[in-house]
């Protein structure tokens, strides 16, 4: 009798220690996890039409669309600072340089491997376009170029736009425009 009881206890213990993965895979969804519940197989639902997600309400058309009264704005919706341009450079190198190259001539690595060549930022036409135009190209795409709105937030898109303008100015700068303390350095390099 005692032996039987021991055997039962051992069996129960063994059963209790069996491998269950409930805590490893809990009834909640991780980001981008699939779901068999919805027909499209996604766990994350698309935003309902006509609604605005928290933090995405845009009351300022200048900031959100690059336009003022329907025409492209030629100014930044935020103050121009050194940090903004540094941020713009960083983001440009991440999201644009693969095609446009780091100086904006449109000779990035991907173009050399067969991507359609984008126009150089240093041609007359693109030098003349207002700042809001760059923002618009990033937000809505342009021809063969897809938009980057899903990956680059609004503020960063403006930082990039400001940096593109900086690149344009840099390629046509004269020595007289360089700050005096940096001038001698450039002259040395000549």
């Amino acid at each position: 009798m005692k032996a039987l009881r021991r055997l039962c206890l051992a069996a129960t213990l063994l059963a209790a220690s069996a491998c269950r993965q409930d805590m490893h895979d809990q009834p909640r969804f991780e980001a981008l996890e699939g779901s068999s519940f919805f027909a499209d197989g996604l766990s994350a639902r698309h935003q309902v039409e006509g609604t605005i997600a928290r933090g995405e309400l845009q009351l300022d058309p200048h900031l959100a669309t690059g336009r003022i009264d329907g025409a492209f704005a030629n100014s930044l919706p935020m103050p121009l600072t050194r940090e903004l341009l540094e941020r713009g450079r960083e983001r440009f190198d991440i999201f644009c340089s693969a095609c446009h190259d780091r100086a904006g001539y449109g000779e990035g690595m991907v173009v050399r491997r067969g991507m359609k060549q984008p126009p150089s930022f240093h041609i007359e036409r693109l030098q003349q376009v207002p700042l809001g135009y760059f923002f618009d190209v990033m937000t809505r795409g342009f021809g063969a170029m897809i938009d980057v709105a899903d990956r680059v937030p609004v503020a960063d898109r403006w930082a990039i736009a400001a940096y593109v303008r900086t690149l344009q100015l840099s390629q046509h700068a004269t020595l007289a425009e360089v700050a005096p303390e940096s001038r001698s350095k450039l002259e040395d390099q000549r």
């Binding site: 981008l32 190198d93 991440i94 693969a98 897809i146």
Partner: protein, 216 residues
């Protein structure tokens, strides 16, 4: 009553009790080794993917930054996996008709995401956050290895708790300046002990080993 056991059994019984301990030890050791073997942890085992996406080609070959595709890695827990649209930004023109890219085109056509096989996946009871590691100076290659050398993705670390803790106990040797986070070639030996201590101070890094940090 006659003796059942010969006196020599005294020795045998001692040896067998002693031996049982070793036997048990060996079983436990063997089990532990199995759990830590590549077979169980999948370390260094490349995964099949629906599309043979190569980090080697895209990162080392084309020089694309991690954030081009994993764009939320700096501000959220989840690093992000690129949408089909991101691939098609290039592949609508580059290698436009290649057979291996058919699943990508089909995904765009049918509006169904590509189902990548996960390579890193912690159990749901452990919490992990990319943004804090990036902000505190832990680079991608510290945890994911030389991704730019991987034709298919594999894991270089076990993701076991003792691996997390080995760094959380003493993070200093694993820190790097923030501007090198995405640099795959960064070499930890470029910093000496003083510079690491300085990074610990600059980035306010503490040793975090409370259970509730990761089990919340």
């Amino acid at each position: 009553m006659a003796q059942i056991f010969h006196p020599s059994f005294n020795t045998i019984s001692k040896v067998s009790i002693f031996g049982a301990i070793f036997f048990l030890g060996a079983v436990i050791y063997g089990w532990d080794t199995l759990l830590r073997s590549p077979y169980a942890t999948q370390v260094n085992v490349a995964r099949e993917q629906p599309v043979p996406f190569s980090h080697k080609h895209h990162v080392a070959g084309l020089g694309i930054d991690c954030r081009f595709c994993h764009s939320t890695v700096e501000e959220s827990a989840f690093a992000g996996i690129p949408a089909t649209k991101t691939c098609m930004g290039c592949h609508a023109t580059v290698w436009k008709d290649a057979e291996i890219l058919e699943p990508v085109r089909a995904s765009l056509r049918d509006d169904r995401p590509i189902e990548w096989t996960r390579v890193h996946d912690l159990p749901d009871f452990a919490y992990f956050d990319h943004s804090v590691h990036v902000a505190k100076g832990v680079g991608c290659s510290t945890c994911h290895g030389r991704v730019d050398q991987m034709p298919l993705m594999w894991r270089v670390n076990t993701l076991n708790m003792d691996w997390c803790l080995s760094c959380h106990r003493d993070p200093a040797p694993n820190l790097r300046p923030r501007d090198s986070i995405f640099d795959m070639r960064w070499d930890p030996d470029t910093l000496d002990a003083n510079q690491r201590a300085q990074l610990m101070m600059d980035y306010h890094v503490e040793s975090m080993t409370d259970c509730s940090v990761c089990h919340r």
